[in-house]
Amino acid sequence: MNKYNVYWVKFLKNKRNKYSLFVFGFIFILSLFAEVLSNDKPIIMSIDSKLYFPIIMTYSDKHFDGYFDTEADYKDNFMTQKIAMKNNWAIFPLNPHSYDSINLNKSTPNPAPPSQYNYLGTDDRGRDVLARLLYGFRLSVLFAFALTAIGILIGLFFGALQGYYAGKIDLYLQRFIEIWGSMPELYLLIIFSSLFEPSVLLLIILLSLFGWMGLSDYVRAEFLKGRNMEYVIAARTLGLSDTKIILKHILPNSMVSVITFLPFRISGAILVLTSLDFLGLGVPPDTPSLGELLAQGKENIEAWWLSISTFLVLTGTLLSLIFIGEGIRESLDSRSE
């Protein structure tokens, strides 16, 4: 484990790496708790000396002596009065809005500028920008993680297959990749998004179909180089099976290029999702997304809080990811020792 420590120390030595990782990690972990940080339901409340946990449990209006079977709306006059009654209390999250909650009691027209009610203003449907940014950031990053993970698995598999066995397998797979790679990805996305109901899962599947090729080329090249290294030949003479040689000898030595690729692929995936959302081809309309906020910013050019805040979040994310990537590359590079 000693050697990983060395890389880690080397990575943290550079202040830019350290702060990028810290900022990105902090915001990402915060966003994982978005429901607690930014929600239109109270975290905990007490009505008629009974405790309720609206974030975890769903309560209907009838629980609070209302008339409807639907879930209680804690911003509704009925509920606010109930909470304001003597001995009743409620603790709301720091930002008392969810990504899809609309404040109906507001006097200003939408999109509304930042105010004490909405710290970063609202979008053109009256939804809180801060909440949408937080949830949108989380969705983008998780989406990017998933896309990258799938891409790496497929890319590693095909790259290793091609590079290690070379010859005919490599020849045919490479031709397949050439044909597959020359398909017009964007048009397929447009066609599919009109054929099927848009969803995050559909997007991941469609983008995964094309996203693995860049990496598989890299892995293939690393494996082609690796298969003729003397320590690999030595492992074959020791009687090791192909799978073992691939997993134990070639893969660890070609991991540097894969790991170096990671943050760049993640930032690329975030950018792809944002662009698709911006064009309206991405996630379904209600889903919080950075691209949709940017599109709103374009529509409402005078609502500066929309475009500037989204722009800052997006740039900050991409920049810190790229800095992290550079840091990883430098710390894994054995030449700079």
Partner: protein, 527 residues
């Protein structure tokens, strides 16, 4: 007459602050050859580079000293002046002829460039001069050579072109930095003779940098021996070789591999190849029927007896490594390989894998033969685990410890990684890995070529002592007849994918029959 003088030159690395050259002083007289000998990292190349001011000032820092040529201190001269004397007055030839020539320009263009810069700008003179120098360097078919690109020439031809470029201005001093190390032995003599003749004709002075003592001994008048950036001995070549004063010099001269052959070798064959042939498809178009092949081995018949060391000697491209790979069952071949009365060519891949522990290989480059991400324990235990899945960690640890002591390393090294070892230590680990399988036959593919001479000798001694202990059979492949001679019972000479000659070591050296073998012996300074 003094032509170049280096006075108390000290040089350090800016990055690590290490002293690379310490108080180097030397003089070069007109018409004389000065040999600089040392192991890798001793500073011999740096000494050569400092003369022409080619040291990268962002890496190296001159602490003190002067390099005096025609009454000027070159270290203090401006870059323009240095540029005007480089190649014209002080010229260099480097080791790697492939890297020193521009691959996208013809030979003529690169040669003309130098002439235009330093000699004449008249087109007619340029043409005649370039032809003249090419003829002098012994290249046949002058016009064709001039119009070819570097990749169309062989290594020896390229080095001749480099020499032509270096000598076309008739410089006062030629610095030859390992000029023949990348070339086959039979070419070495030709190139050095060429340099020597030119030196005598033009009363040029030469600094010959090399790790090869025999070469220096035959071609230099004076000699300097460098160790860790310090001159440990200098003097007339003959004196130094006859009466070395410094311990290091003695060690260096004695490091020439002695005859260290085990006595008893049996008559029972452990390995035999019958009409072993091997060919590789050339870059054929996909749909052609009559494909072209490159023949790497044709009808090779060799055998190795139990407890015997068989030397296989040949130049690069002669097929020696292909032979090793075929015996190791790592590539497809025609013919039969019979190992311990079992025909390996009849076995399936799966059966061969089970049989692999019987024959092992040790490679040339100890830096690429050990996986950089595994520690020594993992490297050594790998084969053991592959053959015995139930083996316990304790057992593995004990076996690996004893393997390390077998090759002369201490067991506290088990958890280190390959980059923490020197070349010689790595080669010992590679040998330990081969031993871990308890093989009957080990193939050594140039195991000492990447090592310094003193380490080379230690490794050879280790190899022989292991043979005595376990009555192993060896197949020892090398381009270096000196090494082969010291360790083999029998020798096969391989050339252009065929065995040209085979006999016991004494007979081959004393009564070679083929011209090629004779040439090889002469080039290795063995006659």
């Amino acid at each position: 007459m003094k032509i170049l003088e280096i006075k108390n030159l000290s040089l350090k690395s800016k990055k690590s602050n290490a002293l690379l050259l310490n108080n180097i002083s030397l003089t070069l007289n007109k018409g004389e050859t000065l040999g600089i000998v040392g192991e890798s990292g001793s500073g011999k190349t740096l000494t050569g580079l400092s003369v022409t001011g080619l040291l990268d000032s962002s890496i190296f820092e001159v602490i003190s000293g002067e390099v005096i040529y025609s009454k000027q201190n070159l270290l203090a001269c401006p870059e323009e002046y240095l540029r005007s004397i480089r190649t014209k007055k002080i010229s260099m030839v480097f080791q790697e002829p492939m890297l020193s020539l521009n691959p996208v320009q013809t030979i003529k263009k690169q040669l003309d460039e130098v002439i235009k810069l330093h000699v004449t700008k008249i087109k007619k003179d340029i043409n005649s001069l370039s032809k003249e120098i090419i003829i002098k360097t012994g290249l046949e078919d002058v016009d064709k050579t001039l119009l070819s690109y570097p990749h169309m020439l062989s290594g020896g031809q390229r080095q001749r072109v480099m020499i032509a470029i270096a000598l076309v201005c008739k410089p006062d001093i030629l610095i030859a930095d390992e000029p023949t190390t990348a070339l086959d032995v039979t070419l070495q003599l030709q190139i050095l003779d060429l340099l020597n003749n030119f030196k005598i004709e033009n009363s040029m002075s030469m600094i010959l940098v090399s790790h090869d003592l025999d070469l220096i001994k035959n071609y230099s008048d004076h000699i300097i021996i460098l160790n860790n950036g310090v001159i440990v001995e200098d003097g007339l070549t003959r004196n130094v070789f006859e009466k070395p004063k410094h311990e290091y010099t003695k060690k260096l001269i004695l490091s020439k591999p002695d005859k260290i052959i085990t006595k008893n070798s049996g008559d029972k064959k452990i390995l035999e190849t019958k009409n072993l042939s091997c060919r590789f498809p050339l870059n054929n178009p996909f749909f052609t029927k009559n494909k072209k092949y490159f023949t790497a081995l044709s009808n090779v018949n060799i055998h190795v007896n139990i407890g015997e060391t068989v030397g296989i000697v040949g130049e690069s491209g002669s097929g020696k490594t292909t032979l090793a790979m075929a015996i190791m069952q790592l590539l497809n071949y025609d013919g039969n390989i019979i190992f311990d009365n079992k025909d390996l060519s009849m076995l399936s891949n799966k059966d061969i894998r089970k049989y692999r522990n019987n024959f092992q290989i040790v490679f040339q480059d100890p830096f690429s033969s050990l996986s950089p991400r595994l520690n020594i324990l993992e490297i050594l235990s790998e084969g053991l685990v592959a053959f015995n899945k139930d083996i316990k960690y304790n057992e593995l640890f004990d076996i690996c410890t004893s393997l390390l002591s077998e090759v002369g390393l201490s067991n506290d090294m088990l958890l280190r990684y390959p980059h923490q070892f020197s070349g010689g230590q790595r080669q010992r680990i590679a040998i330990a890995r081969a031993l871990s399988m308890k093989p009957k036959l080990i193939i050594f593919d140039e195991p000492t070529s990447a090592l310094d001479v003193i380490v080379q000798k230690n490794i050879l001694e280790l190899i022989v002592s292991l043979q005595e202990k376990y009555s192993l059979s060896y197949c020892f492949i090398s381009h270096d007849l000196k090494v082969i001679k010291s360790i083999s019972h029998r020798i096969y000479v391989i050339k252009d994918s065929e065995i040209v000659e085979t006999n016991s070591t004494e007979n081959i050296l004393n009564y070679p029959t083929s011209d090629y073998t004779k040439n090889l012996i002469k080039s290795s300074f063995l006659s």
